[in-house]
């Protein structure tokens, strides 16, 4: 591959990019994942155009109707259109995934870089704190935080962020430890750069890529945790169309009105599947051992 493209005037960066695209196209599962996520993003962006009804308007005259052309996924006990609720639910899901990734990624990176850069006692203390958070099954800890903060959208995001920064902290720490002894860091220090400057301008950028890969791998998990909280009644509250809470709402109608729980669940599974396929693909594409 490389030799064929290297004959023309091409930079190593372009070569690399071309090779990445080649790898992406070779893996069908990665492509499927990308397509699912692309559709998910489009649906979230254009929800008002796609959804035929409002996600929260009740119409008791059509309550508990099965799937039909008027109501593609049927209606719930308040006569709300499930298809529209699922479509709008993608916005909630995307918002949660996005914010949790940003917040937990930042917390993890900050703690990891500080820990790895200073080492010694700082490292010991921060890593023991990380261990404590790792000693909990994360859903149970998130449940406790959500209950403490009060169940709603913002608090769901905060609760999941608080429990999911640990992996990133460990990655960033490992990277920071590797980077801090490099000659260029010494050079920055020799020219008078302080600790803060070195940490945030010279060490942290090096940690972004491993943390970012891990973030894409974990996006599915974030959605699953949020849906789990919603299902238990400790997450986003109705009437907000959150998928997990919607599955839970359909539980009492499961025998005769199976569609209320089924469709939101399918969408959770699809989006998580998309993120998992894409995440696996990204990891494989960036793994130097598998790149050849």
């Amino acid at each position: 591959m490389k030799t064929a493209t290297a004959t023309k005037k091409s930079t190593p960066f372009m070569d690399d990019l071309r090779h990445t695209i080649f790898l992406w196209r070779k893996s069908k599962l990665t492509m499927i994942g990308s397509v699912i996520i692309a559709i998910f993003l489009l649906v979230a962006a254009f929800a008002p155009l796609i959804a035929p009804y409002s996600p929260t308007d009740q119409d008791l005259s059509v309550r508990l109707r099965g799937p039909s052309w008027q109501h593609l996924f049927g209606t719930d006990q308040f006569g709300r259109d499930i298809f529209s609720r699922v479509i709008y639910g993608s916005r909630i899901a995307l918002w949660i995934i996005f914010l949790v990734s940003v917040i937990s990624g930042s917390i993890g990176m900050f703690i990891g870089v500080v820990s790895g850069y200073f080492g010694k006692i700082v490292d010991d203390i921060l890593m023991r704190i990380t261990d404590m958070f790792l000693a909990f099954p994360s859903l149970i800890l998130a449940m406790a935080f959500a209950a403490m903060l009060g169940p709603d959208l913002t608090n769901t995001i905060i609760a999941i962020s608080i429990v999911s920064w640990t992996t990133y902290a460990r990655l960033a720490r490992a990277e920071a430890m590797k980077v801090k002894s490099q000659p260029y860091i010494e050079a920055v220090r020799a020219t008078g750069g302080g600790n803060l400057r070195i940490m945030f301008l010279h060490v942290m950028p090096m940690c972004i890529s491993p943390v970012f890969v891990q973030l894409t791998l974990r996006m599915g998990t974030i959605l699953l945790t949020a849906a789990g909280l919603g299902f238990l009644g400790l997450g986003v509250q109705p009437p907000t169309p959150e998928w997990g809470a919607m599955v839970s709402a359909g539980r009492s109608f499961l025998i005769d009105q199976w569609w209320i729980s089924t469709f939101p669940g399918i969408f959770i599974a699809l989006v998580v599947l998309g993120f998992n396929l894409l995440g696996d693909g990204v990891r494989d594409m960036l793994d130097p051992r598998l790149r050849r």
Partner: protein, 336 residues
């Protein structure tokens, strides 16, 4: 470093971590912006009754005193009295935990057998249809929400086909077997009550499959990856070159070494099982610890939430410790 030193170091570390966990649990429980005494007595209770109750439960003490009492109690496995069931929390835990443990054990047995089989087959037939199938099966397992699979299986196998029961550990009219371990499968077998045994087995099947599915997926993925790694090693080529049968090479030489990463993942998987148990137990009305904590959270029952959560963290740490020990025994390099 010898094995004893390794073990002592790990035990001390575990104590430190558990103390931290206790701090986190305490802080969370006391930051919940609601009044457990109010929730217990209802909104109409006269003020002096509320004050009396508060004093009786120790909620009028300064936080630091409450914390000291919580820690000194926790060390003696005494988490106080549940506000909801009015029994010592530890008694409740001992009552509910075997149900969770039984569920997790059956789930982990399913996932180990199925996961390793799938992983090995996948690795041997790399990129063939069976590999693709098992990869899709695995990735679906970690993608589908546990509670949703549970509901769908109940819908199909209980409501529609009526093959398996949908909720609980036994039918309404069956007496629980005499309590030895609290795990109905064990207890009924010990007592020789085979009809109860099969009933318990039928009840545990759906929740265990639901709970074990994502674990199966993780085990299969790890086994496949490490098996592929091992199959590339020189000694495998040597074994093949000296004329050993393919089966002997695969199962005797490769599988044994490729299982080391699988052993480590089982500790992690056990944690995810405890986590999944919360959701599975809710869906299947399974009277386990996960459901105990969830109901505790929803009804502001501080002592049961603190005790239950701490207990789960303890079990989780213990599982990881056991895995580390097994790992150290399997691979001496890890004792460093």
């Amino acid at each position: 470093m010898n094995f004893a030193a390794f073990l002592i170091r790990r035990l001390i570390l575990m104590a430190v971590v558990l103390f931290g966990v206790a701090c986190i649990v305490f802080v969370i429980a006391h930051l919940i912006p609601a009044d457990p005494v109010g929730a217990l007595l209802g909104g109409n209770a006269p003020a002096h009754v509320v004050d009396e109750m508060r004093a009786k439960l120790g909620y009028d003490q300064p936080l630091i005193v409450q914390f000291g009492r919580f820690i000194s109690g926790a060390v003696r496995a005494d988490f106080g009295t549940s506000l909801r069931t009015n029994k010592p929390v530890m008694e409740d835990i001992m009552y509910y935990f075997p149900a969770t443990m039984e569920l997790a054990l059956v789930a982990i047995i399913i996932s180990i057998f199925l996961g390793i089989t799938l992983g090995v087959i996948s690795a041997i037939h790399r990129n063939k249809w069976i590999d693709q199938f098992s990869r899709v099966f695995s990735i679906l397992g970690v993608s589908m929400p546990v509670f949703w699979i549970g509901l769908i299986l109940i819908l199909v196998f209980y409501f529609r086909l009526d093959w398996l029961p949908g909720a609980g550990r036994l039918s309404l009219f069956t007496y629980a077997p005499p309590r030895v371990t609290g795990m109905y499968l064990f207890d009924s077998a010990l007592a020789g009550q085979w009809s109860t045994f099969f009933e318990a087995l039928k009840h545990i099947l759906l929740p265990a499959i639901v709970l074990g599915y994502s674990a199966t997926a993780s085990v299969a993925r790890i086994t496949r990856a490490s098996m592929l790694d091992v199959l590339r090693q020189d000694y495998i080529r040597t074994a093949k070159a000296k004329g050993l049968k393919r089966k002997v090479v695969t199962y005797r030489h490769a599988l044994k070494n490729s299982l080391i990463p699988t052993v480590t993942i089982i500790g992690l998987v056990f944690g995810s099982l405890l986590e999944g148990a919360v959701l599975t137990e809710t869906v299947f009305s399974w009277p386990g610890l996960g459901r105990y904590i969830t109901t505790g959270l929803l009804s502001l029952d501080y002592p049961s939430v603190m005790g239950g959560t701490l207990y789960i963290a303890f079990i989780y740490c213990l599982a990881n410790l056991i895995v580390d020990i097994i790992y150290a025994l399997l691979d001496p390099r890890m004792r460093m």
